[in-house]
Each structure stands twice: as structure tokens, then as C-alpha cells.
């Protein structure tokens, strides 16, 4: 069976790194981007990027091809 590594990467690892791993990096107010302090900009951005990343993982998921 093909490996699920890529699914794990895109679905879990990347968002985990972005939210928990990168925390010391984004825990700041400046610079303000699109009107938001950087910390909020980052988190709000990842609210959108996480689904995208997860969908990539979903498309690459061999388990989904197993069904039917």
C-alpha cells in the first residue's frame, strides 16, 4: 500500500508547525498586516491555509482511493 506520509505531512505536521512550532516567531504585534497585528494575521491566515493544506493531504491520501 502506498505510504500515507504525505497525508500526515500536509494534514497534521504542517499546521502543527505553523501554530505550535512557529509560535515564538509569530507572537508579536508588529508589523501590522491588512490591519491586523502580526500575531492575529498569522493565525487568521492559517485558518485558511490549514484547510488548503489538509485538502492536499486528502487528495494524496491512499485511504480515500481504497473506498469504492
Amino acid at each position: 500500500m502506498t505510504t500515507r506520509f504525505w497525508t500526515w505531512l500536509f494534514v497534521l505536521i504542517i499546521p502543527l508547525l505553523a501554530i505550535v512550532g512557529a509560535f515564538p516567531f509569530y507572537n508579536r504585534a508588529e508589523p501590522f498586516i491588512l490591519g491586523f497585528p502580526f500575531i492575529y494575521f498569522w493565525v487568521f491566515l492559517w485558518i485558511v491555509l490549514t484547510p488548503l493544506s489538509m485538502l492536499i493531504g486528502y487528495k494524496l491520501d491512499p485511504e480515500n482511493k481504497n473506498e469504492e
Partner: protein, 492 residues
């Protein structure tokens, strides 16, 4: 005016519940509890996403931002976001085990895997115990909403009315009724929150950036996670994020929703889309900061969102916002009651009277749902403060089921005594940590309890001699779902 729109929408929600009865065989317990596992993407999305965003979202989150700033809200956003990736991997397996074991409740699920009615009973007991404060919290949220509508309503009448409405949501067609109402509730909630955020930006001279810049000037420590003292805060933040992200899935009603999905693929896809619902937090947080800079020094942080709405928005719109909040409370109340109803009928009564017909089960479910609602109402009226203080315990407590869930999915050698021991010890720790002050070096106490729970579970499982049935059943769940349904039925 606000009251008008409010009541119209409440009425609409009840009609939706009645509408959902079409096509539902009211005596089929599978339909009532898990919609015969037929929910496709559309309904499944609304049902699952709605469950997660309770009244805590609309009132609690802005309140928290208002009183505590980013240090709190950040872990909140973080854990919710990360819970979806976790669910992507976990929920399909939960579903698969549920399907093979024909489970409709968390209790069923454990009972099948370990072939142990007593384990099922323990889980049933813990579920009901910890769901009670949660139900009561919905009444509290509702009373807050009603306060802003400015109506003088007898609190007892309000609570009773709310529970009757909640009962109609799930008493007629079970979870399908809940799903229909969830659609309306989600539309209203989104509208409400959009109104809040947009109003904030419109009313602030200088717009969006001005809100945050002003906040930065007036309350600089609110904008970032402040490390004071450094280690303790960051440790607590990260451990709490981890704890909550996993504990998310311990709620009995969440498992019930997972069971209602059509396939593992539906679940995975759903998990990918669900984070988008969090976009509403952009509006909530912005509205909260707006209130912070324009009305500092509010005595009650609950005012942060609803107060702002009432002050700045036309009456009929306030009614819509209030309806969104009220529906949320009543829907969560309904879902929790249905989960309890299912547990009581299948796993408690069912334990002493096995082989009950489906229609009996439905009658027991309905009855227990009503009884649970009645008890919550009674407690709310006569002991309003009691259970609210227990919300924390409720959350920490129910999460003690989580190690058991993971072991059920992943560990062949897990033993029923191990799982039971782990849960009992974990729950004991939760109560202990709540009464005695134990130093945990800034690590979230719930997480500590879960860790202890896991250790106990592993040790006890290994000490007990292996149980053939539960290992067999584990092997069934690991194979890919290409088995024909006749093979699966034979095993049970």
C-alpha cells in the same frame, strides 16, 4: 422589534424540527441516534460544525478577549484549529469501529470492542455525569441572551420553555431534527457574528487597523501572548493547546455525529473543510477589541459582544443575533440530551434488559432525553450556581475517556480493566487537582491527569492476561473496510 424577529426565528426552528420528520421511521433507533449512518457531506458538515460552536463562542470568546487579551484567545484558536487535523485521522477509525460494532453511543463503542458491558456502563456513567454541567451552561448562556432582549420574562418560564423547544428538536426525529435546526442556527450565528464585526469596523474612526492600533496603544499586553513569568505561561499555553485539541473528541455527542456519516471519506473531507468555519473568529475578535477600546472598564465581560450589538445595531437585527445565540444554546442542550437519552436507553436500561426492540429503545431514549432535560431544568432553577463552577471539571473529566479511545483504535493489547482503571484514576486526579493545589510546573492539570490515566491504563492492561475476544475485534477493525456486510454481522 427585537423580540418580534427573535420569536419568529424560534418558531421557524421548531418548524424545521417538524419538517425533518419526513422520511424518518420514528421507531428505528438507528435513525434516531445516528441517522442510520446516512448523512452525506452537506448535513454532516452542519451537524458537526454546529456542535463545536456553542454559546461559548458568541459570548465567551469576546468576553475572554475583553478581559484577558491574546494570552487566552490564542490557545483557544490554536487548539480548535489543530483539532481538525487530529480528527482527520481519528474520526474515520472511530466511525469504522462504530460501524462494525453497530454502535450508536460512545458506551456501545467501548462495550463492543472489549466485549464488556461493565466498561460500557462506566463510560455511560461518566458521560452523563460530565454532560450535566454542560447542559446547565446552556441555560446560563440563554439567560444572558434574554437579558439583552430587554424582556421581563420569568426565569423559570424561560428555562422550561427552552427545554421544551430543545426537546422538539430531537424528540421527533432524533438527530435528523437536530441537523435541520443546525442549518438555521449556523446561518443565524454567522449572520450575527458578521454583523458584530462589520459594525465594529464601521463605527470605528479609521476602520479595522485603527481598532487594533488603538488597542495596542492602550493595552499593549493584550495583543500578544505575554510571558509573565515566561516559562509558566508558555508551558501552560502549549500544554493546554495539546490537551484541548485531543480532548475535543471525547464528548459523547461528537462520537454520535461521527457515527452518522455515510463513509470514512465523508468524514475526512469534512475535517478538511471545517476549519473554514473559524473565519468567523476574525469578526468576533475584532468586535471584542472594538468594545475594549471604546468601552473599557465593563464590569461584565459578557457584555463585550451582546452589549456592543445592542448599543450599535437596529432592533430587528438584534433579534436575529439573539435568536442565533438562543438557538445555539437550545441546540446544544438538545444534542446533549439526545446523547444522554441514547446512553441511558441502550447502555444502562439495555444492560439490564437486553434484546429490547428498536421501538422500545426509541421510547426509552425519548423518555430519558425528556428526563435529563427535566433534571437540568430543576437543577438550574434551584441550584443555579452549583454546576457552573463545575464546567472545568466537566471538561477535564470527560477528556479522561480519550486515552481509552486512542487505545481502542490503536492498541491490540489494550485490556478492559486497563481502560477502566485508567479512566477511574484519571477522573479521580481531576477531582483531586481541583480541590488540592498541586504544583504541576505550569502544565495544564487536565493534561497531567490524562498522562497519569494513560500510564495506569498501559500498566494494568499489560498485567492482565490478554483477552482473546477484544484482540479479535481489534483485528477486525484494522483490516480495510472491504469486508462484506454479511461477514461483519456474523461476528457480532
Amino acid at each position: 422589534m427585537a423580540l418580534c424577529t427573535f420569536l419568529i426565528l424560534i418558531l421557524l426552528s421548531v418548524s424545521l424540527a417538524f419538517l425533518s420528520r419526513r422520511g424518518v421511521i420514528a421507531s428505528d433507533i438507528n435513525q434516531i441516534l445516528v441517522a442510520s449512518r446516512k448523512f452525506g457531506s452537506f448535513l454532516f458538515f452542519f451537524v458537526t460544525v454546529g456542535e463545536i460552536y456553542g454559546i461559548g463562542t458568541m459570548i465567551g470568546v469576546p468576553g475572554a478577549v475583553y478581559s484577558r487579551g491574546s494570552s487566552y484567545i490564542l490557545w483557544f484558536l490554536g487548539y480548535i484549529l489543530l483539532a481538525y487535523p487530529v480528527g482527520y485521522f481519528m474520526n474515520p477509525r472511530v466511525w469504522r469501529i462504530g460501524k462494525i460494532g453497530d454502535a450508536s453511543t460512545t458506551s456501545d463503542w467501548f462495550e463492543w470492542r472489549f466485549a464488556s458491558k461493565w466498561l460500557g456502563l462506566l463510560v455511560a456513567f461518566l458521560s452523563i455525569l460530565f454532560l450535566l454541567p454542560w447542559a446547565q451552561m446552556q441555560f446560563a448562556g440563554l439567560s444572558i441572551i434574554l437579558r439583552y432582549l430587554g424582556i421581563q420574562i420569568n426565569p423559570v418560564a424561560a428555562v422550561v420553555a427552552a427545554s421544551i423547544i430543545a426537546f422538539t428538536y430531537v424528540g421527533l426525529s432524533g438527530i435528523k431534527g437536530s441537523a435541520y435546526v443546525a442549518i438555521l442556527k449556523d446561518i443565524l450565528m454567522i449572520a450575527a457574528i458578521l454583523v458584530g464585526g462589520v459594525t465594529a469596523v464601521m463605527k470605528m474612526p479609521g476602520g479595522l487597523e485603527a481598532i487594533y492600533r488603538t488597542a495596542y496603544v492602550k493595552f499593549p499586553s493584550y495583543l500578544t501572548v505575554v510571558a509573565v513569568p515566561i516559562d509558566k505561561n508558555v508551558t501552560f499555553l502549549i500544554s493546554t493547546i495539546l490537551f484541548q485539541a485531543v480532548g475535543f473528541y471525547s464528548w459523547p455527542s461528537i462520537m454520535q455525529y461521527v457515527f452518522s456519516a455515510k463513509s470514512e471519506r465523508t468524514i475526512r473531507h469534512n475535517q478538511c473543510i471545517m476549519p473554514l468555519y473559524m473565519l468567523m473568529y476574525i469578526f468576533l475578535v475584532t468586535a471584542a477589541f472594538f468594545t475594549l477600546v471604546t468601552v473599557p472598564g465593563l464590569k461584565n465581560p459578557d457584555d463585550a459582544f451582546m452589549g456592543m450589538i445592542v448599543r450599535n445595531v437596529p432592533g430587528w437585527l438584534v433579534g436575529i443575533v439573539a435568536a442565533g445565540g438562543a438557538l445555539t444554546c437550545m441546540l446544544v442542550l438538545a444534542d446533549v440530551s439526545l446523547a444522554v437519552g441514547g446512553i441511558v436507553s441502550r447502555n444502562i436500561i439495555g444492560m439490564f434488559k437486553p434484546g429490547m426492540s428498536s421501538s422500545s429503545l426509541v421510547r426509552w431514549t425519548r423518555g430519558s432525553t425528556a428526563l435529563f432535560l427535566a433534571i437540568s431544568v430543576w437543577l438550574t432553577i434551584f441550584f443555579p450556581r452549583l454546576l457552573l463552577g463545575l464546567i472545568n471539571i466537566a471538561y477535564f473529566g470527560i477528556t479522561q475517556i480519550f486515552p481509552g479511545i486512542v487505545a481502542t483504535i490503536l492498541w491490540k493489547r489494550a485490556h478492559k480493566w486497563g481502560i477502566a482503571a485508567g479512566m477511574i484514576v484519571g477522573v479521580f486526579c481531576v477531582f483531586l487537582f481541583n480541590t488540592i493545589n498541586i504544583v504541576t510546573f505550569g502544565i495544564n492539570k487536565g493534561l497531567v491527569s490524562v498522562v497519569i490515566n494513560t500510564i495506569v491504563m498501559v500498566v494494568v492492561s499489560l498485567i492482565c492476561s490478554p483477552d482473546a475476544t477484544s484482540m479479535e475485534r481489534f483485528m477486525l477493525t484494522v483490516k480495510s473496510d472491504r469486508r462484506s456486510s454479511s461477514e461483519v454481522v456474523a461476528v457480532r
